[in-house]
């Protein structure tokens, strides 16, 4: 065997050993193994600077190009606020009625208490293959793997997959390996909200395990089911955009538009713990 071939085999063996070692370390550690943690801590200031620079540039460009659009949007938002105020009044009446009905039926009222930790988005994974975020808080702020991440409006963003000392990686609900128990608000039917590789670039996800004749209409609100107690219940995921046959034709799947604008997030809130009071 030639000397160069021997070297190549040796180097590839080392690479494979490193890959196995990293995978074992990741598997064994609860949040993040020591090497990624150290690398993340070192990279955090650079990510922060990079984020600041890109945000500043984006802000300047947006200011210059979007002035007319902003004026238009302002008018539209004013109308929307008026409509929403009307909806709030209606919701208040509905809520009162709901409370009365609950009392009548002696239903136990669930109260969910979310403990939140705010974090800045340091980096959006700009890859064509996954949808991840790096945020500015980590284990030193009690953030752990598996914690839910939401927006200020309470819309689901994703789940923490790795947490270092002062950073954490979030797999968004758009990522093809994301999978969260969901519930249709109107019908109460359970389903599974999953990321889909084909829909990821369009900013959509799918709702599967709906059965052959699902009770779904366009616009239906999709929330987390909270089944199993891993994630808080009733966190808004998004709304149904269309229902169509699955690839195998045996089932129906719904395309869901997330309520959170995942591509333009700058700040998120991590649900570090939650109580279900029944």
């Amino acid at each position: 065997m030639k000397q160069t071939d021997k070297f190549a085999i040796m180097l590839l063996s080392i690479a494979a050993a490193i890959a196995v070692l990293l995978s074992i370390m990741t598997y064994l550690s609860t949040n993040s193994s020591i090497l990624p943690d150290i690398a993340g801590v070192i990279a955090t200031p650079f990510r922060s600077v990079s984020s600041t620079i890109t945000n500043t540039i984006d802000g300047c460009l947006a200011y210059m190009s979007d002035f007319d659009a902003l004026k238009e949007e302002n008018e539209r938002l004013k109308l929307q606020i008026a409509e929403m105020e009307e909806e709030v009044r209606q919701a208040k009446a509905d809520s009162d009625e709901n409370a009365r009905l609950r009392d009548l039926a002696e239903l136990r009222e669930q109260r969910r208490d979310l403990h939140l930790e705010s974090a800045r988005v340091l980096e959006q994974d700009a890859s064509n293959w996954s949808s991840m975020l790096t945020i500015s808080k980590g284990t030193s702020q009690d953030i752990e793997t598996g914690d839910c991440v939401i927006t200020e409006a309470g819309y689901l963003v994703g789940v923490v997959t790795e947490a270092g000392l002062n950073w954490a990686t979030v797999r968004t609900i758009l990522d093809s390996s994301s999978s969260i128990g969901a519930m249709i608000f109107r019908s109460g039917a359970s389903a599974l909200a999953q990321g889909d590789f084909a829909l990821m670039s369009e900013g959509r996800l799918t709702l599967s395990y709906l059965g052959t004749t699902p009770d779904l209409v366009s616009g239906d609100l999709v929330m987390t089911s909270g089944l199993g107690g891993y994630y808080p219940s009733q966190v808004v995921i998004g709304s149904v955009e269309e229902v169509r046959a699955s690839d195998d034709g045996l089932d129906q799947v719904a395309v869901v538009r997330p309520s959170a604008d995942i591509e333009s997030l700058t700040q998120v809130f991590v649900v570090t713990s939650f109580d279900i009071v029944e």
Partner: protein
């Protein structure tokens, strides 16, 4: 023969150039989309270094760079970039030794090969993990490679200059 300190200095310069390219990716390329995809420069860097430095040092540099990428950016599994970049570095050094002498043309070829190799490995892992969508993944890998390849005209002169300066001065 180069003194040890000079060899260390050369690799420090290579590392700084790679850091610069990483900043270029983070600050500029991540903000743009070409043909609907974001160019991904990283696979090209170890391939170009290995083309110029060949033999042993290029692939070792690539292994370390792959490890750094695995620790910093999301990958299909921890160790993906370590394996992918080491493979593409070995391939590039072999191309530069046996097929074309190191230069612009060879640089374009090894860049294309390294992008294709990384894309193929991603597709393979995607299929193994039950992701499906072979055609879509192949399409994204192809477009990503095509969108990234023009940036070889920035990468090649930078690493070429480092290689030449270090060779000329000694």
């Amino acid at each position: 023969m180069m003194p040890k300190s000079y060899i260390v200095f050369k690799w420090v310069i290579y590392s700084l150039a790679t850091l610069f390219m990483m900043a270029f990716q983070a600050l500029l390329l991540n903000q743009i989309e070409i043909m609907g995809v974001i160019p991904f420069l990283y696979p090209m860097l170890p391939a170009v270094v290995s083309m110029y430095e060949g033999g042993r040092r290029g692939p070792v540099f690539s292994l370390i760079f792959g490890l750094v990428c695995d620790l910093l950016i999301p990958s299909p599994f921890k160790g993906f970039f370590t394996i992918a970049f080491t493979l593409s570095a070995l391939l590039s050094s072999r191309v530069a030794e046996d097929l074309l002498s190191p230069g612009f043309l060879c640089g374009i070829l090894v860049s294309a090969l390294s992008l294709a190799l990384t894309g193929c490995l991603r597709i393979f892992i995607g299929l193994l993990s039950g992701g499906g969508y072979l055609e879509l993944m192949a399409w994204i890998a192809l477009i990503e490679s095509l969108a990234t390849l023009p940036f070889a005209v920035i990468v090649l002169p930078i690493y070429g200059t480092i290689h030449k300066r270090c060779a000329v001065d000694y």
